[in-house]
């Protein structure tokens, strides 16, 4: 019988001078891509000698290290001005910037709002009948919304894409292994499809 898939543990890569530094973030995404990264399961333990995590949702490092990291993984499209700032920080500080998943590559499900006037979106959520103190949140702490959700390549140059919603764990593993081993990434068709 076929048991559920689990990516196999990585073989020992060529020892590198220092660990591969990885940063990641989710912009207008659902965190599903990050969960798929964690779906490498126990391989995370096997990778430990070879990687270190910089700014990611799994650590408390709030900015990408100023001296740069090797790989930056971007999940989600760009929906507000804060996303633009974060994305630019990643581009400036990541040697290889990866658009991870449908939303980063194309905008994805959140971009279904494109074409609907912002005011209509606002009204639906915050001004409809029955709400207590209906108002549009407008505090300066809240970043303004862009008129459309953009794929990240419309804001910065990207180097690699990982397709899927989300990309399967095996694709993340292959990405990391290919960078560690200094070779091109190869994904079989099963690991580069959307559904």
């Amino acid at each position: 019988m076929t048991t559920p898939t689990t990516p196999s543990s990585p073989t020992t890569p060529t020892a590198s001078a220092r660990r591969l530094r990885i940063a990641s973030c989710s912009l207008a995404g659902c965190f599903g891509c990050h969960m798929s990264l964690l779906d490498i399961d126990e391989a995370l333990f096997d990778l430990m000698p070879f990687i270190e995590l910089d700014r990611t949702p799994l650590t408390d490092i709030k900015h990408v290290s100023a001296d740069g990291v090797d790989v930056g993984l971007i999940e989600g499209g760009v929906c507000n001005t804060e996303n633009v700032e974060v994305l630019r920080e990643f581009r400036a500080r990541c040697r290889i910037l990866v658009a991870v998943g449908a939303c980063a590559m194309y905008g994805g499900v959140p971009s279904l709002r494109n074409g609907i006037p912002v005011a209509e979106l606002v009204a639906e959520a915050y001004l409809r009948e029955g709400l207590f103190s209906p108002q549009v949140p407008n505090d300066p702490e809240l970043p303004p919304l862009l008129k459309a959700v953009l794929p990240i390549h419309q804001v910065v140059k990207i180097d690699v894409t990982l397709p899927g919603c989300p990309p399967p764990a095996a694709a993340f593993r292959e990405l990391i292994m290919s960078v560690l081993e200094g070779r091109a990434m190869t994904l079989p068709p099963a690991d580069r499809r959307f559904d």
Binding site: M1, P4, A28, G29, C30, F31, G32, C33, H34, M35, S36, D39, D41, E42, L44, F45, M48, L53, P57, T59, D60, I61, K62, C79, N80, T81, E82, V109, L112, R113, I116, P117, V118, A119, E120, L121, V122, A123, E124, A125, Y126, L127, R128, E129, L131, F132, Q135, V136, P137, N138, D139, E141, L142, P143, L145, L146, K147, P166, A169, D195
Partner: protein
Amino acid sequence: MPRPLETAEHPETLQRVVIEPVSRVEGHGKVTLLLDEHRRVQQARLHIVEFRGFERFIQGRPYWEVPTLVQRLCGICPVSHLLAASKACDAFVVGDGPVPPTAVKLRRLLHAAQVVQSNALHFFHLASPDLLFGFDDDVAHRNILGVLQDRRELGLQGIKIRKFGQQVIEILTGKRIHGTGSVPGGFTQPLSTEKRAWMRAEIGHIIDWCAQTTDLARDLFLQNLPAHGDFASFPSMYMSLIREDGAADLYDGGLRVKDADGGIVVDHVDVHGYEDLIGEEVKSWTYMKFPFLRAMGPEHGWYRVGPLARINNATFLDTPRAEAARVEFMAFGGGKPVGASLAQHWARMIDTLHCAEVIAALLDDDDIVGTDLRATGTPKQEGIGVIEAPRGTLLHHYRINDDGIITHANLIVSTTHNNTAMNEAVRQVAATNFDGRALSEGLLNSIEVAIRAYDPCLSCATHAVGQMPLRIELVDGGGELVDVLCRHEDGVVEQLAPTSTPRHWPPSGGAP
């Protein structure tokens, strides 16, 4: 009325400290603290800084797309949205009629698997570094890799518990994340006897590991008393789904609300009446709304949801090991609900153990490999689906027109219910810990520890839409809206037709 520390009188005179992004949680949030010259907090807020627009942009789409579309709200608990939407959309296929028992059991199995994986993710990957190493542990070490390094067996056990949940989800939906399986009216494919056998072979040690982790979470809490008991501890009400006999039920049931002393405020409330029970308040400084019990108003009507609420509310749990753990938990509170934010980790692992045992019970039931999966009936045009997602009560509400097109959608997600509680937790920690001492990374992390206890899913909570920099409404003498101007973030001013405003929303006609 503003709560203490929610709004400072003269913010311009205060020093702003920001924690951004809040990390080791899912989604986008930040905390702002305004400090006076004595480094005491005068204002503390958790802001949700993102939104999506699901409720609006799924309008105009066919209902059968909805379950797989809205599960993209959240990649951590996609199954929650898949199931809440499926339950709501069942009405569009079967009306008031039943969904076949096998389909319900497959959904329950799917749901229990997801609670196991999501709770394991939260405990091991996100929260455990604070609990194992201390709130002020080195930033470079305070993460899951640090756990794997120092506590190898424990970290791997956590990974394997989560993995099992994900594998069950993959068996039932084809993918670990954003699969398909549950559809309006039932389920798409039966479970094979082979795969059932595989899961049955695995579930025994998963239950054992969940029981061990429950003990660990309990010990971490009790060994750190009184600090962990006092940390972000406050009285509140609790809301969760409850079965007819009072057992916690994560898939179906009525709503129960208990007060801080354990008295029952409302019980077995039909979820179809949720709009009479729950109101939502909007505040200017966050995109996340603040739900409350209408009967009590926004100031006093707030409550908590999630594992803590489920354990505090349940009359009993219907599986033996989890029930024993619940009895022990309630004994700690002297029979009253436990209000400590950090006790949620203990409650969350009891919840996980319960779901692991539920998986075993469902796998023992021969109905689970039945093949009667889809039902039809007399369709209705309005559907409401409520489940207990890992983070608490999740509500989906849709209306369709004669063509099966969505005309109205309202979602109240778990994390939104906890909005007031999370802000209260932030204010408590700020008031207690920011006592004039120098700011340190560890001190700031203590704020995040309080938020993290609620396992907030800020992506889920940002489904609501829309803010814009400026909106001007012209209202005539009769109170009618005559014009709306909107200035976008790029400075472009757009004139909007008054008909696009909420006063005319939802559109009349369409749905019953």
